[in-house]
């Protein structure tokens, strides 16, 4: 269990970093170092990302190209193919809708604040994934079982009500808008990873409920 919890924190930290501009050598190296079983649902996405990273080009040029593409896909200027904000998908294309407000309130309930402050809307993909990493750490560090369950339940609720209701649409938009395997792979990898964790949490918390 401890191992699984630490792995979850690592997974969400990685996902957060992958959606935090700019992509860095550290993040790219993390992707390179990751291995999964061939039949893993994560394998396809990871392989696409890794294939891009293994291209025989200058490392700096590769990072540059990835960041240019990431700019086009998610950063701007103007209309981008895959806006990385929940409100866009849930509230008719406008940002800072109820999804952002609700996320902000939840973060503060957990006495957590994004290091970027509130300048980036609280429903940005990287911030929501970061909050899941924050809750995962909370679960890891919890000494009392009920506190751990509380953090895991909060993670599940957050995934259900704040992430999974828009993430597939976002990943779909990302995948369709790019021919770069790093980003098509990122879209698949992210969606599968979050889906797996959602499923894992659901099963875990049902078992915990039965146990108690």
């Amino acid at each position: 269990m401890e191992e699984e919890l630490r792995a979850r924190e690592g997974l969400y930290s990685l996902l957060r970093a992958l959606f935090s501009y700019p992509l860095t050598y550290e993040v790219v190296d993390a992707i390179k170092s990751l291995t999964v079983m061939p039949d893993s649902p994560l394998a396809s996405g990871l392989e696409q990302m890794q294939s891009r990273l293994q291209e025989p080009v200058d490392r700096g040029a590769l990072i540059e190209a990835l960041n240019v593409e990431m700019t086009r896909l998610m950063e701007g200027p103007g209309r981008v193919p895959a806006p990385p904000f929940a409100s866009f998908y849930l509230h008719g294309g406008q940002l800072m809708g109820p999804a952002a407000t609700a996320a902000r309130q939840l973060y503060l309930k957990w006495q957590a604040i994004p290091e970027t402050g509130w300048q980036i809307p609280a429903d940005h993909i990287a911030i929501e994934l970061g909050f899941l990493a924050y809750l995962a750490r909370h679960a890891c560090e919890a000494t009392a079982p009920e506190e751990r369950i509380r953090a895991l339940q909060a993670s599940l609720d957050f995934l259900r009500h704040h992430v999974w209701n828009w993430l597939p649409g976002f990943c779909q938009a990302l995948k369709e808008a790019s021919t770069d395997p790093f980003f098509t792979g990122l879209a698949e990898f992210t969606q599968e990873a979050v889906r797996l964790d959602l499923q894992w949490l659901e099963e875990l918390l049902v078992e915990e409920a039965h146990r108690s």
């Binding site: 240019v68 990431m70 086009r72 290091e115 499923q199």
Partner: protein, 944 residues
């Protein structure tokens, strides 16, 4: 779809990663969150809700607002009841501000171009990288070509001061604002004759007025008996909120409203009479009105006593003006053979019958108080708008309507001063040296100005419409100490503006921004686009900087009130994403320039002098209200009359002042940001009238209304040249060279008093163009839609609202693919969006129904418009009875929009008309170089 596969809980680790330890190690990448104490979290919650008084910028009217914030999100926008300018009202544009602040399309981060200009390919960078790039380039340009090779174009919102301050400190005289591509001919008369700018009716209510018992009270009464709006549509145009409310209220109080406009505008719907004039003949109408008044005035007949001779007490030069005007009466127009300015002559040209013109002149002459008001889409957009503006000003003056209760007021002269040292004007006085034709020459920075000492010496608002030519050819100064100095334009900063769509001919701008030298480098080496929204000009930028939206920054507003009123634009929320306020952008760039060794940027002028944003704006407030204690009733009867007032309203009221008899100043406690915050965001000083008397507020050399603009006076035994044109004429005489603009009119220099010249591209008034009348039978004019210039058309609420037959829900149902900037430019995303029929307004071509039926057209038909020069645009026709036959009207900036940052408006760019695609790029009006947007003729062809 992304494939999914079910997995059991026990398999999670095995599937997620071969090594749990490997994944766990990635926790080092961090969550991006930090933990707050319970108290801090509570504070954050509470800080998320508040009410802030601020000023709108969804359009240049900049109304006072009361904005509510909940959970850190702007939730409601109301008008600020304490700001008399809009008196608690707010329009659809204002409340749509939410949709701009939170638009997915707004610029969020700094960007640097990675493709060619126009492709729209950028890379997000840090502010450090962006500023380093800009500063390095600026210093290179300065060292190689001089700082005068840099232009800072500040757009159309009033909080431009930090940009002016920085770039003037940097050493360029080219700090520009949008006004020069808006309506400079319209302002010319008031500028020449008053030193002002903008005549508006006295209908801003309430106004704070001193009572006979010494108290101050709000006056809500409307005294106006007549308003004539000529080519001015305040109900739709941006700028003057109170004119919309005030016109209705004044009419309810008994005023007569007459609208003279080729199209039945929203303002016309509230008028007693609409007179559809032929475009470009406003000067003809005014000239005929003036001639009628002069010929028919009788001092002894109360029914024909048009002229109030008391105007001579505060004016000079009327005799010369009148003589010059009358000198035309015996001449005959070569086109119609009729005497100039006669009723018959005007009737032939304006298309208004002679009896109506006579009635109009009589009505204006006999009805007092009255105001004759003209606007930007009419007089401001014609080649000879200057003549109309001068005549209109004269008509208001001689009928005794200026500065009387209910009459006409030049708002530029009576609004509060603001800015002071923050405008950076002192930097322009610095002496610099240049080598001109091998000779070392010294002069002031301002004397390097490409317009004032180049082709357009009378262009006190700069000539943005002529920039494309200068971008390609460079600048050669003709006047002043640097005469003969040639320099290129190498850097162009455009902030909250979109000249590719609004700054004269679109294609000409694109050519200029993409022109390359023989080495394949862009001629303009650096283009920086600073804005909240991403418009067409941004596609041609090298660097994009995100400016904070109007709800995220601080500055001051005071849009043409009839007496000093100043209100604060305050931080409602902190700037979102990585956007910065103008102050932050300029101070950060200043630091970067300083670090790189720019000798003109010194800490003592920037962060040491104004360490916080509030310090900067407090400096700008020091000069408020800056107007004399003058007029009736005297604003402060207990303070010396005629002295300049400085300080807060309450300190002046209480007499907490210092009186400087030498400077003739009354200094109360300085107005500050904090004082404004404590007073609902607004400072209001008392209203008075008759402020022209005894010098008052006039800004002319003589402190009188001037009907002559180049004259001499004797002072201490010396003869001095005076008048607004004398400065330019002296330059011309010294150089022995006539500016090209007026040389085209056959003039040697600027006339000393009344002048007349014809507009261009008008086959009905100018003999040179009569040959086009048959083949190009339509005149094209523009009208306003309810968007802020060209900048807010991505705002969904505004996109749905029709505007007076110019912006109409003519869309068929469309399933459209969203378009984004792809790897090779604008590219469909594949995501389909349904736009139901009749739900999205698009720019259309308004056309008289009879014209349309004669040509076999019906509403919704797609047509192409083509000028004699071959300029084309296309759009759907909208047939109505409410426009003069032979006239087409299209929205300025309302069609042909090709920035994907515009959302649904972009979708219809191929079937909506771009007015500026038709504008003759060489047709810059002769005095100040404003593009003559309203002088366009076309033929029409159905294409779908």
């Amino acid at each position: 779809m992304i494939a999914t596969r079910k997995v059991s809980r026990r398999d999670f680790l095995k599937i997620a990663g071969a090594s749990a330890g490997g994944l766990a190690a990635m926790a080092a990448l961090g969550s991006g969150f930090r933990t707050l104490s319970a108290h801090e979290a509570q504070q954050q919650q509470e800080a998320g809700s508040r009410v802030v008084y601020t000023a709108c910028v969804m359009c240049p009217a900049e109304c006072g607002l009361e904005v509510h914030v909940e959970n850190g999100v702007v939730s409601r926008i109301y008008g600020n009841i304490h700001v008399p300018y809009n008196s608690g009202t707010v329009c659809a544009k204002g409340i749509s501000g939410l949709q701009l602040v939170y638009s997915v399309n707004r610029i969020k981060y700094p960007m640097i171009r990675v493709g060619e200009r126009g492709e729209g390919r950028f890379k997000r960078v840090t502010w450090e990288e962006a500023l380093d790039y800009i500063a390095t380039k600026l210093i290179e340009i300065k060292q190689k070509y001089g700082p005068e090779s840099v232009i800072m174009d500040c757009g159309d919102v009033t909080d431009r001061d930090p940009y002016y301050y920085l770039f003037r400190a940097f050493g360029t005289p080219h700090t520009v604002e949008h006004g020069s591509i808006c309506d400079t001919p319209r302002r010319h008369g008031p500028k020449l004759m008053f030193g002002g700018k903008r005549i508006e009716p006295d209908i801003m209510r309430p106004v704070l007025v001193r009572q006979p018992d010494g108290s101050l009270k709000n006056d809500y009464s409307y005294r106006t008996r007549l308003i004539i709006y000529v080519g001015w549509n305040p109900f739709t145009a941006t700028r003057i909120n109170y004119e919309s409310r005030g016109t209705v209220e004044a009419r309810l109080a008994g005023a007569r409203i007459i609208v003279i406009d080729p199209a039945f505008s929203n303002t016309a719907t509230k008028a007693d009479r609409w007179i559809p004039i032929r475009p470009g003949t406003d000067a003809d109408l005014f000239a005929a009105m003036l001639r009628y008044i002069l010929e028919n005035h009788r001092d002894d007949d109360p029914f024909r006593r048009y002229i109030d001779w008391s105007f001579k007490e505060y004016s000079q030069g009327w005799e010369e003006f009148e003589a010059a005007f009358r000198s035309w009466w015996d001449k005959k127009d070569p086109l119609n053979g009729l005497p100039y300015f006669s009723l018959e002559w005007a009737a032939d040209r304006t298309g208004i019958d002679a009896a109506t013109i006579a009635e109009l002149a009589h009505t204006f002459g006999i009805t007092k108080p009255a105001a004759l008001v003209w606007g930007m889409n009419g007089i401001g957009h014609h080649y000879n708008g200057y003549v109309a503006s001068i005549l209109g000003t004269a008509l208001n003056v001689i009928t005794g309507n200026m500065e009387v209760p209910g009459g006409a007021i030049d708002t530029e002269l009576v609004k509060s001063s603001k800015g002071g040292k923050t405008s950076g004007g002192d930097f322009l006085k610095r002496e610099v040296t240049r080598i001109v034709n091998g000779r070392e020459v010294k002069g002031k920075i301002e004397e390097l100005h490409m317009d004032g000492y180049g082709d357009w010496p009378a262009a006190w608002d700069d000539v943005v419409g002529d920039y494309p030519r200068r971008f390609i050819e460079g600048v050669t100064l003709r006047y002043g100490p640097f005469r003969g100095h040639h320099y290129p334009i190498k850097a162009y900063f455009i902030r909250t503006g979109n000249p590719v769509i609004t700054g004269s001919n679109t294609q000409k701008w694109i050519e200029a921004l993409t022109a390359k030298d023989e080495s394949g480098n862009y001629k303009v080496e650096l283009v920086v686009y600073i804005d909240t929204v991403f418009l067409e000009t941004g596609l041609y930028a090298d660097v994009i900087l995100p400016e904070a939206s109007s709800l995220e920054r601080m500055s001051l507003s005071d849009i043409y009130p009839v007496h000093p009123v100043l209100y604060l634009r305050d931080f409602v929320i902190r700037p979102l994403y990585e956007s910065k306020t103008p102050y932050e952008i300029c101070w950060a760039l200043a630091r970067k320039l300083y670090e790189k060794g720019d000798p003109d940027i010194q800490p003592k002028d920037f962060w040491e002098k104004y360490p916080t944003e509030e310090d900067f704006w407090n400096e700008a407030l020091k000069v408020a209200p800056g107007r004399p204690n003058t007029g009736e009733p005297l604003p402060y009867p207990n303070l010396p009359k005629g002295y300049k007032l400085l300080g807060t309203p309450d300190s002046l009221e209480a007499g907490r002042v210092q009186i400087d008899d030498e400077k003739k100043e009354i200094r109360g406690e300085p107005l500050t940001v904090q004082w404004l915050r404590e007073h609902h965001g607004v400072a209001i000083w008392p209203m008075s009238w008759k402020r022209f008397h005894g010098g008052g507020v006039l800004q002319t050399d003589s402190k009188k209304v001037e009907f002559v603009w180049d004259y001499t006076v004797e002072k201490d035994g010396k003869i001095e040249r005076k008048g607004r044109y004398s400065k330019y004429n002296k330059l011309i005489e010294e150089a022995g060279e006539t500016p090209p603009g007026i040389a085209r009119l056959g003039w040697q220099k600027y006339p000393a008093t009344f002048y007349w010249f014809e507009t261009r591209w008008n086959p009905y008034t100018n003999p040179d163009y009569a040959k086009y009348r048959e083949e190009y039978p339509f005149q094209v004019i523009s009208g306003r839609v309810h968007h802020a210039m060209s900048g807010t058309q991505m705002v969904d609420w505004l996109g749905r609202l029709p505007t007076e037959d110019l912006w109409a829900p003519l869309n068929d149902e469309r399933i459209v693919e969203e378009v984004i900037i792809g790897e090779n430019g604008p590219t469909p995303t594949g995501r389909r969006v349904r736009i139901p029929r009749g739900t999205w307004s698009i720019g259309v071509i308004q056309m008289n129904r009879a014209d349309g039926e004669r040509l076999g057209l019906k509403t919704g038909d797609l047509v192409e418009l083509e000028t004699p020069q071959g300029f084309k645009t296309r759009g759907k026709v909208y047939l109505v009875e409410t426009i003069r036959p032979g006239v087409l009207r299209v929205p300025l900036g309302g069609g042909g929009r090709f920035s994907p940052g515009l959302g649904k408006t972009y979708v219809f760019h191929d079937i909506t008309p771009n007015h500026n695609a038709l504008v003759d790029p060489e047709n810059l009006s002769p005095i100040m170089g404003q593009p003559a947007y309203g002088d366009v003729i076309v033929k029409i062809r159905k294409i779908g």
